[in-house]
């Protein structure tokens, strides 16, 4: 199983200008904050009281359905957010673009406890906490929060499916993958293909339902033809081999 990433155009820029090795976690953190602010300045970002909401939306959630969710969050908590919050959110986005996993977690821990919990931030940071820090249970708690607050979103449902699978709870995983499949947008190719592929595999494991597994893997390949893992699995399923590679 893989995951969606938040890679983007700013990645190279954020990585440029390597600094000498840090002397400690705190100084490293502050140095990276400075770098993020430099990048934002180079991008011409000037956070003001009349544009902080727009910048937060454009940078952190440029597309639906996330944009709508963030707009709702901002509207609900407008008085407690403002320009300082927008600055922290934009810095976080820069760290995502730079794929600086440790800094994402450090920044989340330092900057965001001061603000109302944001399900979108939880959902994306949980990825880092889980896949990089390996803090499974903390990440699960964050994803559960995202599921409860982003009820129409496929990603947190998919993540709980994956986590259930890792725990060896295949029936639970199937339930979450089913919910993710109901929610994934038709144009979200990457997520849709992954959900269907994994649901097919878990259906096979839980119910021995070969037909359903083949249908899901075929649909995953229809959505994303360049999916080697799914191709290999489909060959295995059609070839009647008993072991299906994950």
């Amino acid at each position: 199983m893989g995951r969606e990433s938040r890679k983007g155009k700013r990645r190279r820029q954020a990585r440029s200008g390597q600094q000498p090795p840090p002397v400690g976690a705190s100084s490293e953190y502050r140095r990276n904050i400075g770098r993020a602010d430099d990048i934002l300045a180079k991008e011409g970002v000037e956070i003001r009281s009349d544009n902080w909401q727009q910048l937060a939306l454009d940078w952190f959630a440029p597309q639906e359905p996330e944009r709508g969710e963030l707009a709702r969050y901002i509207a609900d908590h407008e008085q407690r957010l403002g320009t300082p919050w927008a600055q922290e959110l934009l810095r976080l986005e820069v760290f995502f673009q730079a794929e600086d996993h440790a800094q994402i977690i450090a920044h989340y821990e330092r900057a965001f406890p001061h603000y109302p919990r944001c399900a979108l931030v939880e959902m994306w940071v949980a990825d880092q906490v889980f896949r990089h820090a390996g803090d499974f249970w903390r990440a699960r708690q964050m994803v559960r929060y995202a599921v409860d607050h982003l009820t129409g979103h496929a990603k947190p449902h998919y993540e709980l499916g994956f986590m259930s699978y890792l725990l060896g709870d295949f029936a639970g995983a199937l339930g979450w993958f089913n919910q993710a499949a109901e929610r994934v947008a038709a144009d979200n190719v990457e997520m849709g293909a992954r959900i269907l592929y994994n649901r097919g595999m878990v259906q096979y494991l839980v119910k021995g339902d070969e037909k359903a597994a083949i249908a899901d893997v075929e649909e995953a390949l229809r959505r994303k033809p360049d999916y080697p893992q799914a191709k290999e699995t489909l060959r295995g399923l059609r070839g009647k081999v008993r072991w299906v590679p994950w």
Binding site: F130, R131, G134, W137, L167, G168, P245
Partner: protein, 238 residues
Amino acid sequence: MVDSRPTLTMESYWIPTKAAGERLFWMSLEFSLNRPLKQGQPSIVERALSSGCADETLLSLPAVVPPKIRKDARRLLQPWPDGRYTDAYRRSGGILNVFTPPWGEPQDEVWAKMVAGWESDTFADTQTRQEALRALENRWNTTPHPFFAGLTPAQVIVGGGPQETELADEFLKHLTPLYDGRPFESEGEALIKTLTLLRGWQSQPRKDGRMVLEIIVAERNELLARRARVLHELAGSR
């Protein structure tokens, strides 16, 4: 003449996290305590149950067994509580759970849901309310738990037997050459790769058509039945 002196076998495995390494130690100890010292003889667990004294049983272990192991074994040989088997949170859970990051009551969504249901119920009196809680604890003990890879807490706390020992050895020998020395970007990546490999491995039917989970559950149920028999005989002899 056959040399029947105790032997020490060393195995070296690749493990993704420190926590998994610690759990692996407990898993091996649980396996050892459930293994009969000689064929047809009771295991250390059964001997401790029969005598009612873990210390006495541990005295019969070969002198080569270090004090720390004896101390850890004593912990595992403690009598089970009448209520909820919360010690299951601290046990290894065997090969299906050995890599799962440690968790406890704060993470236990199943128990939280059960308690929430009990708290929202109305009862005739305090005694009925307490009886309902005891019934709930017993249900938790004996219901397959999604965070224990489908084992019940009772099956977790009883530990694994010889068949699971072989299965664990098979998986660890499969895992080690694949990942030993391989650079991982992070501990999270190593953990996820290991768990994915484990779940794939356990999903392969064995030669007899059974799944790994079936074999492990059957063996742990047999160990639970043997334990119940010993306790029953003990009660009858008093």
